[in-house]
C-alpha cells in the first residue's frame, strides 16, 4: 500500500454544541447515532476480522514456540531475544535499513534535483508524456519490475553490454548474484520504481510555491543553489515528508522485488525482514519467530515514520 500517516485535513472534529436535550430530542439523537453506527459497522467488521484479529494473533504467536501444526509451547520473550541476538536476523534487519538509502534517500534527493530543473516545463504535450512515462513503474506490478531488472542486471544483460562496449568489461558481473553488489542492485530497482512518484510529487509541490519568493531571492542576488536552499526546500517540507514516508515504508516492508530478483541471495545478502517472515513461517515452520520478527518490523516502520510525520506536518507557511 502506498499509504502512510498523512496530513489529512482534520476539519471540524468537534461536534457543534447541541441545544439542551429535551426528551424527544435525545431520543431522536440516539436513534440517529444508532443509524450512524450502522454505516461504520461493515468497514469496522472487515477491519477487525481481517486485520485487528490477525494483528493480535501475530503478537500472541510471537510469544510461543509453534510449528503451525502441533502444540504451541509458551516461549515468553525468547523469540524476541533471538531476533535481537541472532546475527543472521540482525543482518537481515540491517539489510532493510540499508535499502532505505536506495528506496528513499536516492529517489527523494534525485527527485529534488530533477524537479527543480524541470519545475516549469512539465506543461503542454511534452509534460503529459513525461508525467505518463515517469509514472509507469508505479503502475506495473513490482514483480514485473523485478523480472525486467533481473534481466538488465544479469551477466548477459544491458548493463554489462554497455560496460563492455565502453571498455569496462572487467567490471561486468552478474550484479544480483555477486556478494558485494547484490544488495545495491536490489536497491537500484527500488530507486527506479520510486523515483517517478517522488519527482512528480515534488514538481506538484513546487508548482504551488509563490513565484514572488523566487523573485525576492533573485533580487537579493541568490544563485540557483541559494535559491534552492532558501526557497524551494523549506516550501517543500510537507511533500518531502510524504515522499520519505511512502518510500521508507516501501524499503522496510519490501518483498516483491527481492522475492523475484534474488530470493534473498546470494547467502543472506539481500534477505529482508518481509522475505524472512515468509520463509520462517511457511518453509521453516517457525511461526513464533516469524511473528516476533513481524512485530519488530512493524515497530521499526513506526519508529521511522512517526518522527518524520511530526517533523514535516503542519506549520506550513
Amino acid at each position: 500500500m502506498t499509504s502512510a500517516l498523512g496530513s489529512a485535513p482534520t476539519g471540524r472534529d468537534e461536534r457543534p454544541a447541541r441545544p439542551t436535550p429535551t426528551r424527544a430530542h435525545r431520543f431522536r439523537w440516539a436513534r440517529a447515532a444508532g443509524t450512524g453506527w450502522l454505516y461504520v459497522l461493515p468497514a469496522l467488521v472487515m477491519y477487525a476480522v481481517f486485520v485487528l484479529r490477525p494483528l493480535a494473533l501475530t503478537i500472541q504467536y510471537s510469544l510461543y514456540d509453534w510449528n503451525g501444526i502441533g502444540v504451541a509451547r509458551w516461549a515468553g520473550l525468547d523469540n524476541y531475544l533471538t531476533v535481537f541476538t541472532d546475527s543472521d536476523l540482525l543482518k537481515i534487519i540491517g539489510n532493510a535499513v540499508i535499502l532505505i538509502v536506495f528506496f528513499s534517500f536516492i529517489p527523494v534527493a534525485l527527485g529534488l534535483l530533477v524537479a527543480s530543473l524541470v519545475r516549469r516545463i512539465t506543461t503542454g504535450a511534452f509534460g503529459t508524456v513525461v508525467r505518463t512515462i515517469l509514472f509507469l513503474p508505479q503502475v506495473i506490478p513490482l514483480v514485473a519490475a523485478g523480472i525486467a531488472w533481473s534481466w538488465l542486471l544479469s551477466s548477459n544483460g544491458l548493463i554489462n553490454q554497455v560496460l563492455r562496449a565502453v571498455g569496462l568489461g572487467g567490471v561486468a558481473r552478474a550484479w544480483l548474484g555477486d556478494f558485494d553488489t547484490a544488495l545495491p542492485a536490489v536497491g537500484v530497482i527500488g530507486a527506479w520504481v520510486l523515483l517517478g512518484l517522488c519527482t512528480i510529487l515534488l514538481v506538484t509541490g513546487m508548482s504551488k510555491i509563490d513565484p514572488a519568493l523566487y523573485e525576492a531571492a533573485r533580487l537579493d542576488g541568490a544563485g540557483p543553489v541559494r535559491e534552492f536552499l532558501a526557497v524551494t526546500l523549506p516550501s517543500l517540507r510537507q511533500e518531502i515528508g510524504v515522499c520519505l514516508t511512502v518510500t521508507i515504508i516501501a524499503a522496510l516492508a519490501s518483498f516483491d522485488i527481492v522475492y523475484i530478483s534474488t530470493s534473498g541471495g546470494p547467502g543472506l545478502q539481500t534477505t529482508v525482514p518481509g522475505l524472512e517472515i515468509y520463509r520462517l513461517a511457511f518453509s521453516q515452520r517457525q511461526v513464533g519467530l516469524a511473528s516476533a520478527l513481524a512485530v519488530v518490523l512493524m515497530l521499526l516502520v513506526l519508529a521511522c515514520v512517526l518522527p518524520i510525520q511530526r517533523l514535516t506536518r503542519g506549520e506550513k507557511p
Partner: protein, 274 residues
C-alpha cells in the same frame, strides 16, 4: 518568471535522460522477447527476424485467458465492496459524527502503516480454519480488510469537509439517513470515490504477497501473483519469460494509458493524503 534558456535546455535534457532510464527495462525486455526461442539473448539487440509468435506462445504458456478472468473476479470481489463500505464508514465518521467516532477512527489509523507481512501468517491459519485456502476468497476478504484503514481515512477526509448544513437541510426536507447518503452525499463524493476506486483496482491487481501465500493455484491468483508462478516455471527460458511478463503487465498498462490523467491524480492525492 522566465526561465533562462540554459535552464530550459538542462531541464529538458535531464527529463529525456530520465525517460530513457524509465523505459530501458521495458525496451530491453521487448528485445529479449523477440529473439528466437532457445537462444540466449544479450542486452539490447534488435533481432533481425523478430519472433512476434513468442507472444502467442507465452499467451498459451501463461494461460493468460484464465489469469485475466481470475484477476477480474478478484478485483470485482474487492473493489466495489471496499469502496462502498469505506464510503459508508467515511460518511458515518466524518459527516454523521457518530459517538465514539474519534476512537473508531484512531483504530483505523492504527492500520495505516501496517506492512502486509505482519499479518499474513495468522491470515493463513484463519483462511485454513474457514476452509477458504486456495480459493479467491482467501485473497478477496483479507484485502478488503487491509484496505480499510486507507480507504476510510480517504473517505472520511472528504466527508469532514462537506458542510454539515447540507445534511441538516436534507433532514429538514424529511429525508432518511439512507436517502441523505445515497441521493445527496454519494453523488457529491464522486471524485473522491473515483480516485479511491482507481487506487484499489491498481493495488488489488498488483497484489503479490497474499496471492502467493494464500493461493497455490496460479490460475486463481491476481495477475502479479500469477507472474511469480510464471517466473518459477519459465525462469530459465528468458525469451518466453520476457514475452510472458510483458503480456501480464499489458492489461494495467492499457488501463493506465486510457485513464492516465485520473491515475496520476489519484496516485498523487493518494500519497499526499495517505
Amino acid at each position: 518568471m522566465n526561465l533562462s534558456r540554459r535552464e530550459q535546455v538542462t531541464g529538458r535534457v535531464f527529463l529525456i535522460v530520465l525517460i530513457l532510464v524509465t523505459l530501458l527495462p521495458f525496451v530491453s525486455m521487448l528485445s529479449a522477447a523477440l529473439q528466437p526461442r532457445g537462444t540466449v539473448p544479450t542486452g539490447l539487440s534488435w533481432p533481425s527476424d523478430p519472433q512476434w509468435g513468442n507472444f502467442a506462445d507465452a499467451f498459451t504458456a501463461a494461460n493468460m485467458g484464465a489469469l485475466l478472468r481470475s484477476s477480474l473476479l478478484i478485483v470485482l470481489g474487492v473493489v466495489p465492496v471496499s469502496v462502498l463500505i469505506a464510503t459508508m464508514a467515511g460518511f458515518g465518521l466524518g459527516q454523521l459524527r457518530v459517538p465514539g467516532a474519534r476512537l473508531v477512527f484512531g483504530l483505523f489509523l492504527l492500520g495505516l502503516t501496517l506492512p502486509f507481512e505482519a499479518v499474513v501468517t495468522p491470515l493463513y491459519y484463519q483462511m485454513q480454519d474457514l476452509g477458504l485456502l486456495n480459493t479467491r476468497w482467501a485473497i478477496i476478504l483479507p484485502l478488503i480488510g487491509l484496505y480499510m484503514p486507507f480507504a476510510v481515512f480517504w473517505m472520511r477526509a472528504h466527508f469532514t469537509n462537506v458542510p454539515v448544513e447540507l445534511s441538516e437541510a436534507a433532514r429538514v426536507d424529511g429525508s432518511s439517513t439512507w436517502q441523505l447518503f445515497w441521493r445527496v452525499q454519494v453523488p457529491l463524493a464522486r471524485p473522491a470515490i473515483a480516485s479511491l476506486t482507481i487506487l484499489m483496482f491498481l493495488w488489488t491487481w498488483n497484489q503479490f504477497l497474499l496471492a502467493i501465500v494464500l493461493v497455490d493455484d496460479a490460475t486463481k491468483r491476481t495477475m502479479a501473483g500469477a507472474l511469480g508462478a510464471f517466473q518459477g516455471q519459465w525462469g530459465t527460458d528468458l525469451v518466453l519469460l520476457c514475452a510472458g511478463s510483458l503480456l501480464i503487465l499489458t492489461p494495467t498498462l492499457i488501463v493506465f494509458l486510457i485513464f492516465q490523467r485520473q491515475f496520476i491524480k489519484a496516485l498523487i492525492q493518494g500519497s499526499v493524503k495517505g
